[in-house]
């Protein structure tokens, strides 16, 4: 059976979805591109040979009757559109963030479950080779029990998307409750779900604006640095989002009771920290060479992936789509459990609530322009609740 797939929302990320779906061959076929702005649907259709275009999702659903719809619009429309697709009998792949809030996300998940349809979300890094390797290490017991996780997500505001949102005060990102952070940090939070199983871990967050004010509008308030501490029953985590640290990093470190693993998502390497096993100065000489050998092995693995044409930019997205379609085709378990999607949504809500609380509580003339501490009850790293000098 070939799944009939439709794309709703024909912005930049839609390219990645269509490219990865088209790699699945006879398993799926993109039958329609839909965008409120028909020109956008048309450009996607022309470039990828999609046979039909629509400006109205309800017309598209009634006409094409797709098996799966990928909702790749800005997140403000996700809840409405995804429910509409489910009501029309389609399974839904929704880009991240799932919706604007945790209650909305819960509403959507419950709606999908009640309709006996399937839902997944665009946590593409969750299935990139480094994340798959981390999960394998955990499953094989090589890490022991996870004690602590660090997840770092760097961002380049000089990139295409950063430039676009800074150029336009009406860009949809500025209307999100968590603004730029809302559109990005679930990539970092989603990396925690395999290591912190708690339903409701404690979250403490603070964010700041490091850029100089330039525009005199909402763009100046866009936070570009975020630190979060997460405390579960047995495992803790640090999450860092930084638009200023260079190089633009993207990694996760998992500290286990047996080993510590470092997964670099930019370079697609996973290595274990080396502990000296030989005493004395000689023991301090050896680990550097062992580390070098580990990176050599990772580089060789990547070379093999490249030779096998399995080193694409959207490798994780492709894997996720394939697993999601398999769950539809064979009624297998979903690649990302709805519970995990909701745990991420709840953590995001808590982070933005804490950032917003602090913003609202700032006293004119007291708060620094460059520091917005989010947790009024538990300040971190010695930054106080808003009165600190800039």
């Amino acid at each position: 059976m070939t799944l009939k797939v439709a794309i709703v929302g024909c912005g930049k990320i839609a390219d990645g979805h269509v490219e990865e779906i088209q790699k699945l061959g006879s398993r799926a076929r993109v039958v329609a591109a839909c965008d409120r702005e028909l020109v956008m649907a048309e450009q996607l259709a022309v470039r990828y040979g999609i046979p039909t275009t629509y400006a109205d999702a309800s017309v598209m659903l009634a006409t094409e009757r797709p098996d799966v719809v990928h909702v790749t619009t800005p997140p403000g429309a996700h809840l409405f559109l995804a429910k509409q697709c489910v009501d029309a009998g389609a399974h839904v792949f929704v880009e991240k963030p799932l919706t604007l809030t945790y209650p909305e996300s819960r509403e959507l998940v419950e709606h999908v479950v009640a309709a006996k349809k399937k839902l997944t979300i665009g946590y593409s890094y969750h299935f990139e080779p480094p994340m798959n390797a981390l999960r394998d290490l955990l499953a094989r017991g090589e890490l022991g029990d996870p004690v602590h996780v660090e997840t770092f997500y760097g961002y380049n505001l000089d990139g295409a998307f950063g430039k676009a949102l800074l150029a336009d005060p009406n860009h949809w990102v500025h209307a999100l409750p968590g603004k730029l952070l809302h559109n990005t940090i679930d990539h970092a939070i989603a990396k925690l779900i395999d290591f912190i199983p708690d339903d409701h871990p404690e979250v403490r967050a603070f964010g700041s604006v490091r850029r100089d004010k330039r525009y005199g509008d909402a763009r100046d308030d866009l936070m570009d640095e975020l630190r979060v501490v997460v405390r579960g029953g047995r495992t803790t985590a640090y999450l860092t989002f930084s638009a200023h640290a260079r190089p633009v990093g993207h990694f996760a470190r998992v500290y286990g009771t047996k080993n510590t693993a470092h997964a670099d998502f930019n370079n697609r390497t996973v290595t274990l920290d080396i502990a000296p096993t030989i005493p004395s100065a000689v023991g301090r000489l050896v680990p550097a060479f062992q580390s070098a050998a580990a990176y050599l092995r990772e580089g060789t693995k990547n070379l093999g992936r490249f030779a096998d044409s399995k080193f694409h930019f959207f490798a994780g997205l492709g894997d996720l789509i394939s697993r999601f379609y398999a769950s539809i085709e064979t009624d297998a378990p979903l690649p990302i459990a709805p519970r995990d999607i909701l745990r991420v949504a709840r953590m995001m809500d808590e982070i933005f609530e804490q950032l917003g609380q602090h913003r609202r509580s700032e006293m004119p003339g007291r708060a620094s322009d460059h520091e917005r501490v989010a947790s009024p009850t538990a300040p971190l790293h010695g930054v106080d609740g808003g009165g600190g000098a800039s």
């Binding site: 024909c10 490219e19 336009d168 525009y215 694409h312």
Partner: protein
């Protein structure tokens, strides 16, 4: 009546504003993006104190936003377009923005005239014989999906304008500049070759380079606004004296900087393109198809060009190509020295 300039803070936009002010054009309304860096535009405006210029901070994000710009406007110079980014960004910045502007114009009782700045990129020359003279009757690109995103978006923009002209009777004329160059612009058109890490891949050979010095292009816009028929007619915008890619590169190396140049004759470029396109397909897009036989034929097979139709309107370049190149390379030399 006002004259609205979209994209007035861009490379060509600033030159157009200067030409309009030099021609003592009254009632200019300049659209600039909020928060954008305006040093070059401000420097031009400073030369004409007391000029009748209104700067409006905004965009073309919706027909409503565009409508606010059109009060009392009798002529629109539409230069705003996306110059880089992925396809969706190009289409949003170029086609959707144009559609919003056209929707707003269509709603007006008295519709302003529009001068659209398009591009040579809209022509479909890949399958035309080498040496074909590209004039305004040359067919438009039949396979935009095989071209770069910029050309695809500009072609769709032109078609959109034509749709609105036919449906709403919006008076318009279209200018198609070649390679716009000048101080403040880029150094090397892809028609000459491609900059790779540590080397310059020279692909243009002895092909003619369709140059348009930025001040000459601005002058062409002014002339067209005054004299074109506004019935959807199109004009190539080129300098009178064109040079070959080879001449351009040699002079660049003499006057700006030495490059490590790898010359690639057209047949070899075609073979390489076929290889790149094959690997792109074989690997399912693991590396981008930056070269394909179709793109290579379009860019480097070699055409000739004419601006006769524009000259028929009375256009004459205000800066000779030799002087334009000298000014441009002087700027680029200073920039390179500053960077070093």
């Amino acid at each position: 009546m006002k004259r609205l300039v979209t994209g007035s803070n861009g490379f060509l936009g600033v030159a157009l504003v200067e030409r309009l002010l030099a021609r003592k054009t009254p009632g200019l309304r300049l659209l600039v993006r909020p928060g954008s860096e305006r040093r070059r535009l401000d420097a031009v405006l400073a030369k004409y104190p007391g000029a009748d210029v209104e700067i409006v901070s905004g965009g073309l994000g919706s027909p409503q936003e565009a409508a606010r710009l059109l009060d009392d406007v009798g002529l629109v110079y539409h230069l705003a377009a996306a110059l880089s980014g992925q396809a969706a960004e190009m289409f949003l910045g170029t086609v959707v923005a144009s559609k919003n502007l056209l929707e707003a114009i269509a709603q007006k009782g008295t519709r302003p005239k529009v001068v659209l700045i398009s591009s040579f990129g809209v022509y479909g020359v890949a399958d035309l014989p080498r040496g074909h003279v590209v004039d305004e009757s040359t067919p438009l690109e039949p396979h935009p999906e095989r071209r770069d995103h910029y050309s695809h978006a500009k072609l769709r923009q032109e078609r959109l304008f034509d749709e609105y002209r036919q449906k709403h009777g919006i008076p318009m004329t279209i200018l198609r500049p070649g390679v716009i160059y000048g101080p403040g612009g880029g150094a090397m058109s892809a028609r000459v070759g491609l900059r790779l890490p540590g080397m310059f891949l020279f692909l243009g050979g002895k092909n003619l380079l369709p140059l348009s010095y930025v001040d000459n292009c601005a002058e062409a816009i002014c002339v067209a606004a005054e004299k074109a028929r506004f019935d959807g007619d199109a004009y190539n915008v080129l300098d009178d004296e064109l040079m070959t890619c080879d001449e351009y590169l040699r002079r660049y190396e003499r006057e700006v900087e030495r490059l490590r140049v790898l010359k690639m004759p057209f047949p070899i470029a075609m073979a390489l393109s076929a290889g790149v396109a094959f690997y792109h397909r074989y690997s399912q897009g693991q590396l981008p198809a930056i070269l394909t036989p179709y793109k290579t034929k379009t860019s480097w097979k070699g055409n000739r060009f004419t601006n006769a139709k524009l000259r028929g309107l009375g256009f004459a370049p205000i800066v000779p190509t030799d002087e334009g190149i000298a000014r441009t390379f002087s700027y680029l030399r200073d920039r390179a020295a500053g960077a070093a």
